[in-house]
Structure formats: C-alpha cells, structure tokens
C-alpha cells in the first residue's frame, strides 16, 4: 500500500493514522475507512456514506462529502511532505455533481499539486466505488508548518 518515495517517518505516521481512523476515530470508523492507494502526494481511500448523514430529499447531505474531502486532502498533503509538520486547512471548495444514496460506498482521491511558500494545493474528487460515477469535486489550500501544534493546527 505504501510507496517508498514517501518519507519513512511520514509513511509510519500515515499507517498509524490509518489504523487509528479505521478502528478508533468516532467518525471515520463508522465510515469503514480503507486506503486503496498511498503515494507521494497522491491518496485514494474508500469510505461508506452512512444513512445517518442523509439530508432533506433522502440523499446523502453534501456536508459529509466535504468532511471526507477535508480529511483525505489533508492526508494527501502529509504524503507530499519531506518531514512531518502540522498542517491546517486555509480554504476548501466543493462542487456537488450528483446525488449519492445512503449506504453507497465511495472512493475519495486527492492529489497534492504543489507546495509553494508553505502552502499546499490539493484537488480531488469523490466517485462511487461500484460504478465510478462522479459525485463531487473539490480543491483546497493547506498551510504547512503552522505555529504551535495545539492551538493553530487543524485536521
């Protein structure tokens, strides 16, 4: 699953984080989080869209897509770093392309396009796992190396 071009310390952190998300994290363990591809600056993860996130109209609320993208894009930034640093989302944009049904399993893919002046640029999308139907696209900017892990960072 892990590629050798990722910094070993970051690779180990991502494996720990991945185990922890899958088994301990109160939100992500309910999503059956499963990493499919972990490369330098590239990440692809399968998750469920549980019925508990249904909005009006009987389809999954877009907010869950945004939650998933914020997390996966943040992890994508980590895979691109040469040393482990805290990061924080500066801004995020999500376009809702199609509805998703409760219970659907989706793949969220992120790519870190570049890191310039300590700002990481990520874009990606969310597609159904069975039919590869595009559900949402997104892009975000992340600050790398925030001042003080406890107060300033967010993921």
């Amino acid at each position: 699953m892990s590629r050798p071009d990722i910094n070993p310390a970051i690779g180990a952190m991502l494996r720990n984080a991945s185990d922890w998300l899958a088994h301990e994290h109160s939100l992500f363990r309910t999503l059956n989080f499963e990493p499919l591809l972990v490369g330098k600056g590239k990440l692809s993860v399968a998750v469920d869209l549980p019925a508990g996130f249904t909005g009006a109209g009987g389809v999954i609320h877009g907010g869950l897509m945004t939650i998933i993208m914020d997390s996966i894009f943040g992890f994508t930034v980590f895979t691109a770093l040469d040393q482990l640093k805290p990061i924080a989302t500066i801004n995020l944009r999500v376009d809702y392309i199609a509805d998703a049904a409760p219970g659907e399993r989706v793949v969220c893919a992120g790519e870190c396009i570049t890191i310039r002046d300590e700002v990481a640029y990520v874009s990606g999308d969310l597609k159904t796992q069975s039919t590869n139907k595009l559900i949402a696209t997104g892009s975000g900017a992340f600050m790398v190396g925030t001042r003080g892990l406890k107060k300033e960072s967010r993921l």
Partner: protein, 132 residues
C-alpha cells in the same frame, strides 16, 4: 420555523450535527452542539474543518428554506469555505445572510464563531439551486 425548514431540521444530518436554531431580534441564530464525534484530530481537540463546513452549509440551507414556500426544494450547487481562525472542542454559533435570492439560484453566506462573534472561526459561501 417556516417554509421548507421543517424537513431540513428533521433530517438525520441535523441530528448528527447536534443542530438547533433560535429566532432573535437580529434574525436566526444556528447552533452546533459539540460532541466528541465532531473532533478531527484528538491531539488537537478542535472541531473537524469538514464538520464546520457541513454545519455552515446546513445553516445556509435553513436560511434559504425559511424564505421558500412549503414544498419547495433546494440543493447546494457548491460551497466555498474559509477557515479564519482555529476552533476549539466546543459549541459553534452561526448566522446566515442571503446575499441574493433569485428565482432559480440563491447565494448565501454563513459565518460561524465560538466565544466571540467578532472573532469568526469560519465563513462559508454557498450557491443553491431552488426547485418548485
């Protein structure tokens, strides 16, 4: 509550967010009631950025729904969110402003804060499609 709001507020995502609202003289105030599941990274003990975005999008939808006739539908086209300051593991309050209500599209901005309204944690801009 009025218009299309009740269906939104009864939806499962509202319960997951611990969502509630109250009408005030200065318009509606929305609230996310903090829960452990809203935390992103437990080392940091802050609200997950995506959870803040989901909450502010939901506030935007409620603000728009209040202006629509019962039975009208709305769907978010897209959302942009700026994270202006770090958050804490506690409740968030928000207001939403309708920038423009067209026949088919509405533009809504929602601002969320924790201790001080003058120090917003995040601001979201949503565009929504209105259906009959």
């Amino acid at each position: 509550m009025s218009g299309a709001e009740p269906t939104l507020i009864a939806s499962p995502i509202a319960e997951w967010l611990g969502f509630s609202m109250e009408e005030t003289d200065q318009g509606a105030l929305y609230r996310l009631s903090f829960d452990e599941k809203h935390i992103g990274n437990p080392m940091i003990r802050a609200l997950h950025g995506g959870v803040i975005a989901a909450f502010l999008e939901f506030c935007s939808q409620c603000a728009l729904a209040a202006k629509l006739e019962p039975g009208a539908t709305l769907k978010t086209v897209n959302v942009d969110i700026d994270y202006l300051a770090s958050s804490r593991a506690q409740d968030m309050t928000a207001r939403a402003t309708i920038l423009r209500l067209g026949r088919r599209i509405a533009f809504v901005e929602a601002t969320g804060w924790q201790e001080d309204e003058a120090r917003p944690v995040a601001k979201a801009r949503c565009r929504l499609r209105i259906g009959e």
